[in-house]
Symmetry: C2
Subunit: 187 residues, 2 copies
Amino acid sequence: MSRSSSQKQQRQKILLEKIKYDPFLTDEELADFFKVSVPTIRLDRLELGIPELRERIKHVAESNQEKLKSIEGKEFIGELIDLQLGQSAISLMETNSSMAFEKTHIIRGHYIYSLAETLAIAVIDAQVALVGIANIKYKIPVYSGAKLVAKAEVKESKRNRFIVWVKIYEKNVEVFRGKFILVTVQK
Amino acid sequence: MSRSSSQKQQRQKILLEKIKYDPFLTDEELADFFKVSVPTIRLDRLELGIPELRERIKHVAESNQEKLKSIEGKEFIGELIDLQLGQSAISLMETNSSMAFEKTHIIRGHYIYSLAETLAIAVIDAQVALVGIANIKYKIPVYSGAKLVAKAEVKESKRNRFIVWVKIYEKNVEVFRGKFILVTVQK
């Protein structure tokens, strides 16, 4: 195997990992990271069968929304890109100035909270789930334009009571974390 | 003093108190409570100089929004009917079906959270205040159509760190409570 083809193999392997952890990465950012050209990244994506950013998000969001149980697709806040019912879920949200305080351009807490709460409910494998208690922490101010990745994990599930942790990241830096205690109720 | 005029005096005294604690009370509800006719309640309001429900809310909300420091009037969620900067605040929100889960008609938590968070920020006597930590509890499910009264109280204020309690009631029953730790930042 030539040196360049093994380099390519390694790059594609890392590229897959990177996109998995941060689905918001653009071709430009990937090219910059790997110190290759944008067309090289496009070729990598083609070979790996990974669609372009917007398509990628749209496609996975649609297919995941069909799996939702405790929440209707149109009620979902953010874009759902992964859902393992009863276990874990990932969603995305692009922030904009309409979500920010006018004075500071800092995203208002309740938009971040809504992203987290929606995901915490969505991950529960039940028809109806409600938040009972939430302990949340905003770690770093998030500014207008930030692209957020939310990850939920079910930590405990006993009969009708669930504990879900949600962490929200911007460029792999944790900006928010919340512990949600949910209960399921008869419909 | 005749018996009926002393009865009237007492009724008006209680009426003032009742409206103070639950500004959403309609003339019909008050008439029902006092076992008098609706016109009698209207007369009482006229004599006491208390406007009709909608006017009452609109008027106080407008005059209070002018006092806001940490949040712009148009950014406020709910209607602000009382604001003692640095001490306490009261706001109202009428819920509707657009805020509820389709399946259950239960109001989604993040709408209630937004009402509470906004009030917690508004009560701080500073140009910019952000939530750092929030511990919240949804006590009873709130159904579409419920009229909510949120009350915030500043419990602690040390330099740039504040603890604010927000309790939300429906018909004087507590449906939500939250402890918010806020920090003020340089603009």
